[in-house]
């Protein structure tokens, strides 16, 4: 079960997920530790993402590590014509663990070939965002007390949502039911349906959000972006159906939990924020504990 690279959720076992959830809950109790004292974590964001970067930097410092940071690749040697391989070989010498975000799918896995240091994929385009998937698992576990037995609805743009894609690799190892709720143009790619079939996870593909809320334990919202539609009329028609408001949430079970990877724009109205069902800001806090657990796990 020992690993030093976290590049994709596709190779994470249920045993590891359960272990990391448990470790993250320990971090919540401790608040801060000295586990990584004297270690230096590099956050290399070739695509800016303040939220993810600072979550890792806060987590690193809370487990006792120091941080060196590139918030924006436009200030790096890449501009001088250096290859990604060379850049990674350099950071391999400067840091004890590398967190890397890239806009190009697969770029972090490619980079990982050039370092023996622990490395985390902090998001590579529409491909994978494994630490997000793990914090989502932690959130479901904490909010619902378990993951086996849950009915989980994914809503919105499931064609391009790396959050959803990453998460399905983990969920398919649990006894869950999945409801995909999307417009026709933004359906989940068939490879993920194949994955669920292979693991015997029941799922349905739906269009109507409001109708399916009562059956859900977790409602995972993502944003539907206008620019993804060829036909503006189609967008105008569907738009309202994928905006979640307090009245809709109240039609669900009292134990329903609403999640969102953030940032949100208008796909959840603010009257949801103060309901106990709104788990999306607690999700951010869970991210801190999961990343503390991950950093310790990969480096020890």
């Amino acid at each position: 079960m020992k690993r030093t690279q976290l590049l994709t959720t596709a190779d994470i076992t249920r045993e590891e997920v359960d272990f990391l959830i448990n470790e993250a809950e320990k971090m919540r109790k401790k608040g801060t530790t000295n586990d990584l004292k004297g270690k230096v974590v590099a956050t290399l964001f070739f695509e800016p993402s303040t939220r993810t970067r600072l979550s890792f930097e806060s987590a690193a410092q809370r487990v006792g590590a120091s941080v060196i940071s590139v918030a924006d690749a436009s200030t790096t040697s890449t501009k001088k014509g250096e290859t990604l391989a060379d850049t990674i070989r350099v950071f391999d010498k400067l840091a004890d663990l590398i967190v890397m975000r890239q806009s190009v799918p697969g770029a972090t896995a490619e980079a990982a070939k050039f370092t023996n240091k622990p490395i985390i994929n902090g998001g590579d385009g529409a491909n994978q965002h494994p630490s997000q998937a793990l914090l989502d698992m932690l959130t479901m576990h904490r909010e619902c007390g378990k993951i086996d037995g849950l009915t989980i609805g994914f809503v919105g743009d499931l064609k391009f949502s790396r959050t959803t894609h990453s998460l399905l690799y983990l969920l398919c190892q649990y006894k869950v039911q999945i409801v995909f709720i999307t417009p026709d143009a933004l359906k989940i790619p068939s490879e993920y349906l194949d994955l669920l079939k292979k693991h015997g996870v029941p799922y349905t593909e739906e269009k109507d959000l409001e109708k399916h809320i009562p059956s859900l334990d977790v409602l995972y919202m993502t944003r539907v972006q206008q620019e993804r539609f060829a036909d503006p009329a189609e967008y105008a028609k569907l738009k309202g159906c994928y905006v979640l408001n307090a009245a809709m949430v109240k039609k669900g079970k009292p134990s329903l939990r609403v999640m969102h990877p953030l940032p949100r724009v208008d796909e959840i109205t603010t009257d949801v924020d103060d309901l106990p069902q709104a788990a999306y800001f607690r999700q951010v806090e869970n991210g801190l504990y999961m990343r503390m657990a991950l950093l310790k796990y990969l480096m020890s």
Copy 2:
């Protein structure tokens, strides 16, 4: 006297100012402490300000805290359409204290509604900059040995100077005399005169800097910007009057102290820099100790 938010000087009591001056002087003696070990301070600068940001970051680390930093809002989720409220709710989860600078007056106070964590207004447009006002009080106290009894001249653009505005809320609680020295176009807004009247603080409004120097204990310079004048001839006429040089300083009391919030451009000539009267670089150092004291005060 306990608070967790520092948004404006308007609600700071004399008792608090005296307490913080005393705490800052203790920090000067200690140099570094472990008071905030294990805590994470977020510096969120939606408007860049290297000087203020690094002063807070140096102070935070000198009291034992770690730092996560956004030097420039252009790399944040705000660009993706996230509201300020959501951004603050996220940082509320990642950090133990938030320092925020905004270009919009009132934005930090608005943001503070969405967090229970300690928060400091690091400057909101032309409105308030409370940590600057407190370091100015520390500087006057240290340089002059007291604040009661001082005659303080404010010079330059007092219409838009948030430094002056913030400071007057504190000074009006002391037995001081104020001399405002400005061109007609840049007079101090009447609400601040009303504040002084209400507290029985004597003041005069003047135009001629050189004439009033001999009466002053503290000369607080600010910059007069050409673009603030409708009539270029008016600017040309006044310009020279508001440039302070060594000869002018020497006409004042030997104990006169010259302050400036920095950066300066040309409103103080460099021949002043080496005079004992020049307190503006010591002001920067005082900022470090006051911010160390503030961070500890708000978090304990």
Copy 3:
């Protein structure tokens, strides 16, 4: 031998170099120390350089210091019209040691007049980069077991290479032989030849890289940039001669070591990377240890 400023290699003695190599080797063994606990190092990069900045920041944290950082001068008060002298006077108050990079030759030395705090020139245009020269000395010493007796070839654009220029001031104090290999347009400036003559260091100026490889102990590659040639035909002709590949390396001594300040573009082909001769990534790691040693040396 005690100093607090590292502005140029021109005033560094052989005694100091040997001392710092020894200190750096101690840092390699220790990994991390608490030597600078409670100290704050400012990295002020008025010209962006991710590699050098993060090397200093990693080094500073590995000796126990904290860091405040300006990755890009475009976010500083310089834009508001502040002079470099004032900027340095401010950082003098905020930090315990300043690392500064500037695009203007001599700018760091000029800035150093305005601070009593230790200061390191992190590169000033085509002029000097003393910490790079020192890490290069460490690398030669470690890779070859000694510096006296080495024959060192410098290859490429030696007209503008501050790395080469800085290094020659140190090498001329050792019993070495130098081979300069350049196109006519990019020869080493005569002042450096005069330096070698003054110290009695034998050198030759050559054009043909391949021919001279067998005589070398160290091959220090730099990049030849097309834009430096008035005549494109001249560039086209020489280009290939200054690209080092594995076959060429294998014609040298087995103990030959290839160095490069990085980033490389295509002047060393990637088939060299896995040869034991390729020292350029180990050079990066040596940079960390040398900078740890330097920070401690200047502050204690």
